[in-house]
């Protein structure tokens, strides 16, 4: 390689390395803000890396797995409450692990199931309760046909609503 090209290559590579280091440091510094949500255990004990604890009345997002058999729906309205546990692979639930309760009044997304990962946006209240204004379902990157899922014993019914429930909000 001739010296002029070599010089240009060195300049370009060193600028890029410098920028990559800067970007890496910035992202590292911002890392707790880039996380989309708190985990239920972090609501109990504070953020994993900073120990920052959420205050009562603070608006925040929580993400976790819907605890099976914890979903309670009101028969006349869209009100629903369920418990949330930390997301972990493989999926498992321990009755003693830190959980939080989510209360929500609205239509749940199609992917909402027991055992499914969700993200809820809302206000923290006393007793590890979150009054959610928005519930988003997280998809778990697995795709399979219905027959296969039935064989594996996966639950896959999406939430159904009666007319009365849907009209209660208006």
């Amino acid at each position: 390689m001739n010296p002029r090209r070599k010089k240009r290559l060195t300049i370009v590579v060193s600028i890029l390395t410098g920028l990559a280091v800067v970007a890496g440091l910035v992202l590292y510094a911002l890392s707790q803000n880039i996380d989309l949500f708190y985990k239920p255990s972090e609501i109990h004990h504070g953020k994993e890396d900073t120990g920052l604890k959420a205050q009562i009345g603070q608006r925040l997002r929580v993400g976790g797995l819907v605890v099976p058999e914890s979903v309670k729906r009101d028969e006349k309205s869209l009100k629903v409450s369920f418990r949330l546990a930390d997301m972990k692979m493989p999926i498992s639930f321990d009755p003693n692990e830190p959980m939080i309760t989510i209360k929500y009044d609205g239509i749940l997304p199609d992917l909402f199931r027991e055992g499914q990962g969700i993200v809820a946006n809302g206000k923290l209240a006393e007793g590890f309760i979150i009054e959610a204004s928005e519930v988003l379902a997280k998809h778990d990157e697995n795709y399979m046909p219905k027959e296969l899922a039935d064989d594996a014993g996966e639950k896959h019914a999406k939430p159904e609503y009666t007319k009365e429930q849907l009209e209660s909000k208006n």
């Binding site: 989309l36 199609d110 997280k138 998809h139 990157e141 795709y143 046909p145 896959h156 999406k158």
Partner: protein, 252 residues
Amino acid sequence: MWKWLHPYANPEVSYHFTDKIKPWFGWATFLLLSIGFVWALLFAPADYQQGESFRIFYIHVPSAILSAGIYAGMATAALCSLVWQFKLADASVSALAPIGAIFTAIALVTGAAWGKPMWGTWWVWDARLTSELILLFLYLGVIALNNAFDDKQMAGKAAGILALVGVINLPIIKYSVEWWNTLHQGATVSKLGAPAMAAEMYWPFLFCFLGFIGLVGYVTCIRFQTEVISRNKMRPWVRALVCDNNQPEEAK
């Protein structure tokens, strides 16, 4: 070692080489995409949770992968242009940028259309979605810089620097779903080990993906040729080319 590449630094040689490979890309795209789309939209089984809506996957995922892939290619061309000052590399950068921008836009729009029923929202400012949006802005920036100067060489330099700086965004897009808690799910198709997708859903994806790659190749060939011609319009070989193409019409 690189001697065999040297003739292709000549615009005329490159133009005719592109002319030769273009139809192959065209036919491959046509075949792969027709098989892939029919298979994906009519015959692939519906997903157990998402039902029919999961079929957006067959457009969303190839576009998203290619949006980053095209950027990597464009940045490589920009590096060659800055270091070795190949004029053709500049032509490749300005040929690739709009294609990448379109695929980024397709990935964002199809993702939003899928997100509304599945997640419950069109858009969320999580790391994956935000970094993909930044990728779109980077593409738009490269296009804008390419058109901001009358001097093509200057424009190529400015756009090339932006393209290179933007490379930092690529690993951020790729690993955003692993480094941070995001609403966007992790990778399905590149996941090693446990299959994240049933085989009868995966095969049509492969056809669609290869088809989209062919489409990118085909459109790139066309745009590259246009760029080469417009940058060399005063050269005798371009004039000869134009005259050649016009003769049959004059003879009529």
